[in-house]
Symmetry: C2
Subunit: 537 residues, 2 copies
Amino acid sequence: MEVMCMVSCGRYTRPHFNLLLLIILQFGLHTVDGVWPLPQTFTSSAERYPLSPQALYFVYGSQSAAQQGCSVLDAAFKRYFSLIFPDYTSGNGVLRFSDGKPFIVEVSVDRDDCEGYPNEDSSERYNLSVCAGQASLNAQTVWGALRGLETFSQLVYEDDFGTYFVNKTEIDDFPRFQFRGILLDTSRHYLPVKAILKTLDAMAYSKFNVFHWHIVDDPSFPYQSSTYPDLSSKGAFHPMTHIYTQSDVRRVISHARLWGIRVLPEFDSPGHTLSWGKGQSDLLTPCYSGSTPSGTFGPVNPVLPSTYKFMGRLFKEVSSVFPDSYIHLGGDEVNFACWKSNPDVRAFMQKMGFGADFTKLEAFYMENIMNITLALNKTSIVWQDVFDYHEQRSSLSVVEVWRDGCYLCEVRRVTKAGLRVILASPWYLDKPGPTHNWARYYTVWPLAFKGSEEQKKLVIGGEVCMWGEYVDATNLTPRLWPRASAAAERLWSDEKQTSSVDKAFPRLQEFRCKLVRRGIQAEPLYVGHCKHEYQGL
Amino acid sequence: MEVMCMVSCGRYTRPHFNLLLLIILQFGLHTVDGVWPLPQTFTSSAERYPLSPQALYFVYGSQSAAQQGCSVLDAAFKRYFSLIFPDYTSGNGVLRFSDGKPFIVEVSVDRDDCEGYPNEDSSERYNLSVCAGQASLNAQTVWGALRGLETFSQLVYEDDFGTYFVNKTEIDDFPRFQFRGILLDTSRHYLPVKAILKTLDAMAYSKFNVFHWHIVDDPSFPYQSSTYPDLSSKGAFHPMTHIYTQSDVRRVISHARLWGIRVLPEFDSPGHTLSWGKGQSDLLTPCYSGSTPSGTFGPVNPVLPSTYKFMGRLFKEVSSVFPDSYIHLGGDEVNFACWKSNPDVRAFMQKMGFGADFTKLEAFYMENIMNITLALNKTSIVWQDVFDYHEQRSSLSVVEVWRDGCYLCEVRRVTKAGLRVILASPWYLDKPGPTHNWARYYTVWPLAFKGSEEQKKLVIGGEVCMWGEYVDATNLTPRLWPRASAAAERLWSDEKQTSSVDKAFPRLQEFRCKLVRRGIQAEPLYVGHCKHEYQGL
């Protein structure tokens, strides 16, 4: 029995009804299981077409604004060919040639944004129609086309005889949230560039679009600044082997761009800066024991003009190295004890009329830093601490909510103040729970707070955080995947269609096997097996 | 300043005082940190000798019972050469040639057990003396020599200029417990042979000596039996790709032997056998719903003679395939509901006079299985459940204690009954806690129960269990290492010398970096770095 075919191969045909359940019931799992995160609208039929590596072609539509030579799409065509036919490209397997007819994947975009960077406003919407001999992929931007190519690659499956197929399908898809990030922490442990690049690959498979690079922190300063080279030569774990050179950073940004991923750098201050002090004297506050310096250092010294001069030059460099319009300024967990102990800080407090309220001093500091980055045309993100302590909230732009507890209460407060929110609290994946708690990251409802429609629109997205205390390249991947993919579906897909853990489970299992097949060391959800187990030992 | 040198290069010189702390304080960490688990006695001096790959030789002592052609030691010499000089063998680095003088590692053993298998009685004691130009390693058996080679390899370190050194050292070492195992579960997820072999390598680095292969269970039966091939062709996840052929099993046993590791197979019954039923009809108990079979199956059917005939033939095969004198018969977690529902089982209970006590039926079953393996000259191990329910405890040999709670109470009871104990309860590593809970596996005192000296001697060792619900080749290694190494030191080293978590921490961190350097994806303990980070992505 065949479901009535609603598919046509025209541009922007958007069937708005959802045959998902019907399809699952009637045709087994392989057709719909195929795509994670779940597209917004999805129709599929049992009609299927064989694909062969000798006869699959990616081409640009004749009306497409981007044509051959488009760096982003040219690279994507090559990449997805290998992802679709893993055996062919690795030369490990013999593929059966089942059909000599060519299959064309025709990609058209409205704008030639091939050499640019994805940004906060980039449309990721795409429309994908798969018919006999052809798939049409249409999008406004190349970034949307990338998402569509990912979806197409996930639609392809291999039968037991080694033949690849794709079913007749119609998809119209777009992300629920604009900001879907993953934070990696390269200060508590150094992550080799290769580990970052591989994470970017896996991010794209789950349609994440922001790599939040928490690049420096207390334990080490691996960013090799051209303005202040001592920061890494003295503050990194090792001045040569445990640093990110300018070339490394460019490589990460360039790799991310080809996947449609923004790179958001974080230079967290005034706390979390111990390693900065090794290469920059007078930057950190000397702590006092009674009336004498104790020899230890606290947060950045907010009372010296030299501090702001230094920060101005550093952020000028960072702003030009990282093309994204956002920059993360940190501002979390400032311990006031050292400031309190320092007589110069206390004198400054008095002069400024801050009394004994050190949150005012922190606000003063952050205000200065935000002005620096504002002058550099960057939108600043800060951790929620800054919002909590700040009186002049109008100078804030985006607040990242990270604390446990009633995080939606905080989301409500921040949006009520008219500020944008990124939600991270429910997605701290660095602490390993039992693996099956993927459901904990799936059953998150970012908009389930009392607030106006305007407030809800201010929730621009969410972020999975992988802090580095217990994580480095040895365990990053299995700890991140596929649990982060659970968050990815929450951030991309329609909430109503993806509210059931039970329905998601087999789909996520299937997707996890796809990740493994692509060489991503994604850990299992529960008892079972993949057709192709992980072989990369 | 130099510590007075107590080292001599004679045979079996055993200095019984411990200079450990003194050495750490005076000469920094590299000399003593080097060895994990900590040797029983260890003296070292600041005097050090350069080693060069062009001039390091492993040779047999002239009086050694084993000589060239000894498979175990010939292979070990080759292996340890590569482990000592990783850059040289991989061709990645340029080693500085610092000293043309040869350095000889002379190995002597009392017995030529080169072609045998390690067993429960194998001595693992060794004596290692490192002097100028020479290291003398003496042991009773080749298995002891392997442990000594591991220790020697860990004593070698590289300075910042790429030169390798070993310090003047004298070690006399032997294991605290005879049985130091790791359980892998290849039924809940299939582990490729490569993953098992790599685990064996890592086990040897921590001086584990038993690989407990929980090879089959409810979800799948990957062991390809020559007597009953249907068991895997119907009971495995896949009959070709997810099985262990006879050749795979031989490869595992042979690889383990070369590391001095015993392979202990477990064929768990009568519970945990769902997958067996797919390839062997009438083996499992048909469950009833009222007076009719429900179509589901329970534990092995203990009332049919055919069951024991089958088990007899299967265990005959298993006994000849696996050379170890121990065999694990399982016997845990039998659910009586299905037996209760089955009229034939109930009739049998009545006939045997078991009343309504199904533990008697289980005991009857296990007794039969134990008689089968006894006739095959195997020592049987059972999970503690069998001890708990069994009345005729004299027919038991070794009991593995696995339940939570007061596990030492159980150890006390089992040893009081005169039976040997393997302790597993505190070392269930499959459930991921926060990683820093390595200390939880370190602070285990297996003999801290009230009992006679005789009772304590019956505690033959312990075992780290890595059950497979949430574990496969993607996350096995970082979940196992270095946490299992914490257990390894508890099982090998002197308890008094290794009771401090704080002292162990930097040593374990250093050892973990060694594992990473050897290509083992061992996860970090906490913030920090290794000179050579994991590169195997």
